[in-house]
């Protein structure tokens, strides 16, 4: 789960990480008031879950309250298009209004979970303000990586290593230790999967300030953090993905036209790949999971059928714990409820497969039953391309 910059900065501030003074606003009038209370000249920052906001015109420096209100009215309620949003952009609903920071140097500092090290890793680099993944490819030597003990946390010498590596001295060096410790504690105590301050500004006065902040959380840890779960912004998540998550399903929208519904994440990815191999384009990833019920199958099918971009659907079930008859009943129920707008190819194998196929055949609904996985994918692709389009 991802949160906005202003939310990440509030969390970080709670762990002692210095952030610029700022206010979150939703109207031009609020932007004017915020600029007044912050002393006139302010930075307006569009709050959307995507990077590349600066170049896209989503971060503006304005002089005075009237200019703040005018700039806010241009940004709010409109889509901001960055390389990460896709061509439709994201609607800007909130702005972070901040005091300007007099930046002398831009640094990078972040904590990620390293799968290879099986622990969090503190990343620091003197090259702030650029994408860390790009930097890792072009100039990997400029990134210092220090594994953090999951029980002991960040150690004093590690903080010093990082501060020396960043070329800090004097007051900035002294403040860096507490900042790194706060950053690591933020990560560990919120079950984050990423905390990133990029850039970390060294001000002309020698202060350290988090000029930007980004946080992602481990979805599996959210049960421990209802306060963080409440930070979810439903406007930033595709509605069918939220709907699917509520039904215990895992759904990711893609840009093709062959919908698929599969049990198991690996088989679901393999099914997408089979569709591509047959010359088609998958419309989604949809895993109904291992402990699936008749009703969650029904909901999964309804989500698929409701997508206007889907021209045919492929259901691929390997029954193990999941029984094919239960899946068949869920599909039939959904199809009776809403009708079948698109051709549906169903491949089932495994536990109770005969019973499942019987239920589908007896329903009288126009499903295409195909026991071979590869032929089923080819048929779904052929139907998606067939002239005339969905019924």
């Amino acid at each position: 789960m991802r949160i906005h910059e202003y939310q990440a900065k509030r969390l970080l501030a709670g762990f002692g990480v210095p952030v610029p003074r700022g206010e979150v606003v939703e109207t031009p009038a609020e932007a004017r008031a915020a600029a007044e209370s912050l002393g006139g000249t302010v930075i307006l920052k569009a709050q959307i879950h995507a990077g590349g906001r600066g170049k896209a015109g989503g971060i503006l420096r304005v002089e005075g309250p009237a200019a703040a209100a005018a700039a806010a009215s241009r940004l709010l309620g409109r889509p901001l298009i960055t390389p990460q949003t896709g061509p439709q952009g994201r609607i800007v609903r909130r702005l972070l209004v901040e005091e300007p920071v007099a930046i002398a140097r831009e640094l990078y500092v972040g904590v990620v979970l390293s799968r290879e090290a099986a622990r969090p890793v503190l990343l620091t680099s003197p090259r702030g303000g650029v994408d860390i993944e790009t930097l890792a490819l072009t100039e990997p030597d400029l990134i210092l990586r220090q594994p953090v003990s999951p029980s002991a946390g960040l150690l004093g010498f590690q903080a010093r290593n990082a501060a020396f590596g960043l070329g800090l001295s004097g007051a900035a060096f002294d403040r860096a230790g507490a900042l790194f410790a706060g950053l690591v504690r933020t990560f560990m105590e919120t079950d984050a999967s990423l905390v990133e301050i990029n850039p970390l500004a060294v001000t002309t006065a020698g202060e350290l300030v988090a000029a930007d902040a980004k946080m992602d959380f481990d979805d599996n840890g959210l049960f421990r953090h209802p306060d963080i779960k409440a930070l979810l912004d439903p406007d930033e998540e595709p509605s069918e993905e939220l709907e699917a998550a509520r039904a215990g399903l895992s759904f990711v929208r893609l840009d093709g036209d062959v919908g698929c519904m599969v049990n198991g994440a690996g088989l679901a990815m393999a099914t997408m790949d089979l569709i591509a191999l047959a010359g088609g384009r998958p419309a989604n990833f949809l895993d109904v999971g291992g402990g699936v019920s008749e009703d969650s199958v029904r909901q999964a099918f309804l989500i698929l059928a409701a997508d206007p971009g889907v021209r045919s659907a492929l259901v691929n079930i390997f029954g193990g714990i999941v029984r094919c008859d239960l899946v068949a009943r869920g599909i039939v129920r959904a199809a009776r409820e809403r009708g079948v707008r698109i051709p549906v190819v169903i491949r089932m194998e495994g536990t109770n497969v005969e019973l499942g196929r019987e239920i589908l055949a007896d329903s009288g609904l126009p499903f295409v039953s195909e026991p071979d996985m590869e032929r089923a994918a080819r048929e779904a692709v052929r139907l998606a391309k067939a002239p005339g389009g969905p019924r």
Partner: protein, 292 residues
């Protein structure tokens, strides 16, 4: 022969009396697995499915000979259950539970470094040596004993591959899932080393997916010299970067952990990687018949 588990493996079930634990333990017993006891805190002294129930793993191992513990406890308690089994001296822990926080697993891995216990999973279907023992949730009947080792990050996709092997008349020595989470116990490399040492395993099927570097490490091992034919399939060629595809560990960036990169490394190391997941069994059959 087989790896890790066999006919004489004695099994403990942590979370035996719960809904999942009861259902899958019955299925394991029906398969012939030697389930000796269960643990459910607060239910010590009871019997369940004809087996004694203990309050703690320590009490269970004092009373019964135990080689492997399989865990069916909820995600919030599962990390603790793994460490309890390791602390009690159990040599192999199989954790079925999905949804354990990654930081909990980081602590578990640090804990296991100081103990001899091996971990399979979490978020795994478990391990089966067909015809001998099933310590997991996979459907038993699709398996048959034979010469092919199977190791995978997935559940149903593994069943699909095993089913294809069986339909081609190719049985399995051992099939195991290493788990779909970002931090897991046993790796592909560990499993490949064991299959290499198992005289009955004549070929290995490796089923990977996007995210992480387990397949890249396997490719490096194969490149250094793995003497048995390796047939691979990597799921997620069409998956977009930055999106989690069901498994907590199935997420890649544009630059790291892509299916294309994993396939390329495995192939250049000498593995046969199939693009079509419906042709895994066929590929193994052709590789094995070409050698004999």
């Amino acid at each position: 022969m087989s790896i890790l588990v066999g006919r004489t493996t004695h099994v403990l079930v942590q979370g035996l009396t719960g809904h999942e634990g009861t259902f899958h333990t019955q299925s394991m017993i029906d398969y012939g697995t030697d389930v000796r006891a269960g643990v459910t805190p607060g239910k010590g002294g009871a019997r369940h499915l004809g087996r004694p129930v203990f309050d703690t793993v320590a009490a269970a191992v004092r009373s019964e000979p135990i080689d492997v513990s399989i865990i069916f406890v909820p995600a919030r308690a599962a990390a603790d259950a793994i460490m309890e089994a390791a602390e009690a001296g159990i040599g192999l822990v199989v954790c079925i539970t999905e949804g354990i926080p990654a930081l909990d697993m980081a602590r578990v891995k640090a804990f296991l470094r100081e103990r001899p216990a091996r971990l399979i999973g979490p978020n795994t279907p478990g391990i089966i040596s067909p015809g001998q023992t099933k310590i997991g949730i996979m459907p038993g009947p699709i398996h048959q004993p034979g010469p092919v080792g199977v190791v995978s990050r997935s559940g149903t996709l593994t069943y699909e591959a095993v089913n294809q092997l069986t339909l081609h008349g190719l049985g399995q020595s051992t099939a195991l899932g290493i788990g779909g989470d970002p931090i897991v116990g046993l790796s592909f490399v560990d499993a490949l080393r064991m299959f290499e040492a198992d005289p009955e395993t004549k070929a290995v099927v490796l089923i990977g997916e996007i995210g992480g570097s387990a397949e890249e490490e396997a490719a490096a091992l194969v490149g250094r010299g793995f003497t048995k034919p390796l047939i691979g399939y990597i799921a997620g060629l069409t998956a977009p970067p930055g999106r989690r595809m069901g498994h907590a560990g199935a997420i890649m960036s544009a630059a790291h952990g892509t299916a294309a990169q994993k396939i390329e490394l495995l192939e250049s190391a000498g593995a046969r990687v199939v693009r079509n997941p419906a042709r895994i069994g066929e590929a193994v059959a052709s590789v094995l018949s070409g050698r004999t």
